[in-house]
């Protein structure tokens, strides 16, 4: 009798352990990890339906009620293609990339900064956004691109950057002087077929994925997926990318000086 009770207890504990393990596995895909924060998709869903659904839509496909009035269009989460990433071209973003975009907002678009939300709430939103595409469950997370320490800027570095700006054909889209008016500018579309403007580097406005030098280094390395902006990772050495960053900084500084005058 005792033995039987033991056996039943053992069987039950195995079953319980299995259920815990299984639910742990399935909920792992419904989680996000940003620093020490663990986001929960169930909580994220409630927040999404309150804050995000009007633009990004109930299905997460970017077809919310306000979408027809927005340019650029809200992101289609089902495609899992994101501009602002720290991962190579074509790869999924890190949870922290999505968290940063929610926090920062996307300049020159309808996407505001959601800094007023709690950090935990932003992490919950990341967990829920990831449920719209099966890619987040199919593809293992990839390592972010390396950003080596920035060498000091110099006249030589800026000059090399200016030459790279020409030889890499940046000017065909961004314009010879970086004004966003290159000969190919008017032909550009995003991957959904909507017209998209190359960034006017002299406008002095904020960049979509963050304004720091290391942020520009990262954008040049990863490219902005879903847009015509390519990745320079395989074409340039890190030092050359820093040269480009330093040259772009001079275009932007000129605009800021002109503003002040």
């Amino acid at each position: 009798m005792r033995m039987m009770a033991d056996m039943i207890a053992h069987k039950m504990s195995v079953t319980v352990a299995f259920i815990i393990l299984a639910s742990g596995l399935s909920s792992h895909a419904q989680e996000s990890h940003v620093g020490s924060l663990v986001g929960n998709a169930k909580h994220g869903k409630a927040l999404y339906q309150r804050y995000c659904i009007f633009c990004h839509g109930p299905e997460g496909d970017g077809n919310g009620e306000s979408a027809p009035y927005l340019d650029p269009k809200p992101r289609d989460f089902t495609k899992a293609t994101f501009k602002c990433r720290s991962t190579p071209s074509g790869d999924l973003p890190l949870d922290s990339d999505l968290y940063d975009t929610i926090t920062r907002g996307v300049h020159a678009s309808g996407m505001p900064s959601w800094r007023p939300l709690l950090r935990q709430e932003r992490a919950d939103l990341v967990a829920y956004i990831k449920t719209f595409s099966p890619r987040f469950q199919e593809e293992p997370p990839v390592a972010p691109v390396q950003i080596p320490p920035e060498p000091p800027t110099s006249a030589e570095s800026v000059k090399r950057g200016s030459q790279l700006f020409q030889s890499m054909n940046c000017g065909l889209c961004h314009g010879k002087e970086g004004r966003g008016n290159g000969p190919s500018a008017a032909t550009l579309t995003d991957t959904r077929g909507y017209p998209i403007r190359p960034f006017d580097l002299t406008s002095g406005t904020r960049l979509k994925c963050g304004d720091s030098d290391s942020g520009i280094f990262r954008d040049l390395t990863t490219g902005l997926d879903g847009t015509p902006m390519p990745s320079f990772a395989s074409a340039l050495k890190p030092d050359q990318i820093w040269d480009l960053v330093h040259y772009i900084a001079t275009l932007r500084a000129a605009a800021k000086l002109a503003d002040r005058r």
Binding site: S184, T191, P228, P230
Partner: protein, 243 residues
Amino acid sequence: MRISDTKTRYVSLAIITVLAVVGSGRWLANAAADTSAPSVSGVVKFEGTAPKPSQINMSSDPNCKSNSPMTDDVVVGANGSLEGVVVYVADGLGDRTFQPPAQPAVLEQKGCQYRPHVIALQANQKLNVVNSDATTHNIHPSPANNRESNTIQPPGVPLELSFAREEIAIPVKCNVHPWMRGYIAVFKHPFFAVTGKDGSFELKDLPPGTYTITAWHGKLGTQSQKVTVSAGQSQKLDFAFKQ
């Protein structure tokens, strides 16, 4: 009577001999054909007046050197042969699986155009992208069922791509040279061909069976036909596209 008997005997002997020779000949022919896997081959034509290619204005980049560059989205040759049509087995292979070949496919950027305009390869086969121009390109495939990537490629720098899933066909473009358009067709099997100047194609070494053969053109759409092949019994199949 006797004579006629003998005659009958000779005649029947002759008939038997002829039958035996013919029979063994046929048997031999069958035995030889059994070893050769069937193929489906034919020609793709364009019916009606072919659209005239127009000159591409490449003046935005003086490094795009090409003698009178012409649009290549519909290329019709002599006798109406249609170039750049992907002909492939769309159905009939069941659950057979195929390994990608070790040999990479090669897509060249030359004269600021894609050469070839339409390329076909197997899923997970390597695609070597070559920049033979004196200018920088970006290579930007926009797949529906594969991973998007967008890479800048200065002259002479190697680039390797691959696509994991079947997709017919992935549009590829160069954003800095907006006239540059091409297609990459990806298959999970090796039974595909892209028509050249003469519009001809051949799908070789098919397992015997009934197949849906589809012809795909980037501008002119798709057409399908059913065909049955058995060992030693290759089939001819032609397609005709209209504007």
